[in-house]
Amino acid sequence: MSLLLIKRIEVVNWQGYYGGPHEFDFEGTNGRNSSIVYADNGLGKTALWESIEFVLFNTVTKKNGGSKGLVAQESADKPLMNVDAFAEKDNQYFSVTLYFKHEGTDYRLLRGWYPKAKNMSVTSNVDLKRVLELEDLTDRNNPNRHIDEKKIDKWIDDNLLPRKLRQFFLFDGTRLEEYEKLMNPDSGPGEELKKAIEALIRLPILSNGAQLFDELDHSYATKLGIARANETDDKLLRAKILECKADIETTEKEMKQDLDTVNKCTKDIQAIDDWLKVQKPTADIQAELERLRRDKETQTKEEKRLKNEIDSLLENAWKTILYDQIHECQHQLDIELRTQQDRREKTGILKTKLEDVNRHLAGEPCTLCGTQRKPPSAKEKKALTEQQDGLLNNIDKIEEESKYPTAEEITRRQQALRKLVTDSQYLNTLISTENEREKVKKLLKNIERDIRIKEDALDDDLDALVREKKAQRDQLIEARGAAKTGHSNCKVALDFHRGVLSTLTSTPIAEGDSLIVRKHTQSQSICAALATVFQRTTDEFRQEVVMFVEEEASRTFMGVSNNSENYSGLKITEDFNVDIMDKHDPPRRDAGSQAQSIAMAYSMLDSLAKCSDFDFPMIVDTPGRGMGSRMAEAVWDYFMKTDRQVIFLPYDKELKPEEGDSLYGDYLAATYELEKVEGKNHTEIRLRRNNLERMI
């Protein structure tokens, strides 16, 4: 059960809610205090969510920074006062009333803006006055009313919820995505978020303490130095102390300037980031255009390269015309080669045969088989001689035929033809290159068409503005980097000067030392000791809280994640980087889908809220953003069944009324559906409280 319980909200002439009071009751029976407010986009869901921020902090923060204006004339966005009410002279006011129980006491908090005088016509913010009332309803017949605005605001900030911590309790689905930065420390600074987390766990009480006492320690060291310089007779020592003091002051001044620059740049960068986030559609188109233009550049270069290649191929392309003739020549040459070979073989055979005839004539043995032969007879001699003549004629004839072309010439021809055949391949290369170029040209045409479409979709003014902001951001990052370097350098110099001063002045307290020297020595000693105590406590406290958050967040994550069987929990580092751990042994970091990141964000928000001092309900606009239906179901299921008061404001695609009432009705105090009704002269939003009595 929350220590702070929102029981009812009443809005009058608030944003889209004309007239009123429009009442939302969130107090149920048997401890059921959670609620769901269903509505299509634009029907007052966010306005209701914003009414809580307004009634507590007198402002409604816009997503891109700054606050929403009170009336239409003063605001480019939707103003806080209903536009139709503003148009009616007697209806120019608006208010939000919050009924809540805190620490067992019932309160009524009303915040609104009314005309400064009766019967006056309001034309702008200046014609309105703020009304703030806080009533302690312990005695309902005689409520204790407070109207001191400063006191009420401070009481809210100290006791209900500090304004700077509201993001942990009142948030929307978009805000959850910021927590992905905790998982990817390289993807974005996330510094603002980490600072806010540290604020939530009260770490600044300790870390600021350590820093402030450290500064005071040095400040007293300087004061002590001056006191000693004033009291010493040693002129040289005095001069040295004063010189050192001047150096310290100059360096401190420079450090402050650098720090101011760093802070200013960070603030400006954050403002630009917030603004760019709102301009995301434009930024997305620009990013797409940049990608397309890069693609166009790459493809244009490729097209040019292919064109040059084609030009170079064309120089040799004529050879391709002779392709058939070259092949024919090659063929003829091959035949010639084979013929020459045949002739050589034939000549060899004839010569062997001739040698054998010669041997036979001389009565020598057979050349082939070595058989002894008788000397030929006259008749045989005649026949052998005729055969000898015939063979010689044939050999001469074949040799005559083989003279041209010579072997060298055939080789030369072969080489020349082979070269021509190789060159003829240019045609194939040329054709494939030309095809490739055509493809690139087609691609380029498509890219150019896409560029034109994107350019048409881009608002020129906004385009220029987004570019300008991005350029500004780059400059700021550069300036911040330079200032950080300057600050680090100054810090080294400052430590040096302080060391010198300490050496010059750290004389033990002596009998004759003045009261002021004693006092500064004492102060310095106290501050140095406190700085150490605070620093050590900061470190230990941080570790304790991180352990607590890790344990709580892991438990919630395992309850919320729709894939918990694969995870072992969350791992949180001391500077609040978060990893989702899978079930390997040992567990290792899992990249996690966007849905798991959002489950992680919910787990972190819930556990951080638990370890803060503020027991405030969780009020979430579009709570299912970025999640699939399974994960969203797991989230509803987990939070609707916890003891903490939860008010979810989903739009129809996230959770349908009949589905939500059927699944979670048993755990809820009430559910509401917002409907827009077209009136005669204005638009009003009507509420329909769903009948949950049957379940209660």
């Binding site: 805190h102 620490e103 006491t105 806080l134 302690d136 204790n144 407070h146 006191k151 009420i152 009481w155 900030d157 100290d158 006791n159 500090p162 700077k164 604020a199 766990i201 009260r202 600044p204 009480i205 300790l206 600021n208 303490g209 402030l212 006492f213 500064e215 005071l216 400040s219 007293y220 009261l515 004693r518 006092k519 500064h520 004492q522 102060s523 000693s525 106290i526 501050c527 140095a528 000791a529 406190l530 150490t532 105590v533 605070f534 050590r536 406590t537 230990e540 406290f541 370890c611 803060s612 001092d613």
Partner: protein
């Protein structure tokens, strides 16, 4: 309208600091009132955007404590 000063975290911080301060030789002359005031100042400094006086207030407090110690009160 009653103040809820029973903050768990704040108490935890207070108690841890108190224990450490009491055990520190250089801080043995600080009393509970001093500590409460230090935490009050730092609490405001941490959560109130408009409180730029933390250093000034702490200096004033340390001066008072030192005067008290030096004068033997």
């Amino acid at each position: 309208m009653h103040d809820n000063k029973k903050f768990h975290t704040r108490n935890q911080i207070n108690q841890t600091l108190r224990k450490r301060i009491l055990n520190h030789d250089a801080l043995k002359n600080l009393d509970d009132g001093d500590l409460d005031e230090i935490v009050d100042i730092l609490f405001r400094h941490a959560f109130d955007d408009h409180d730029g006086d933390a250093k000034k207030n702490l200096t004033k407090l340390v001066d008072q404590i030192s005067s008290r110690i030096v004068q033997g009160r």
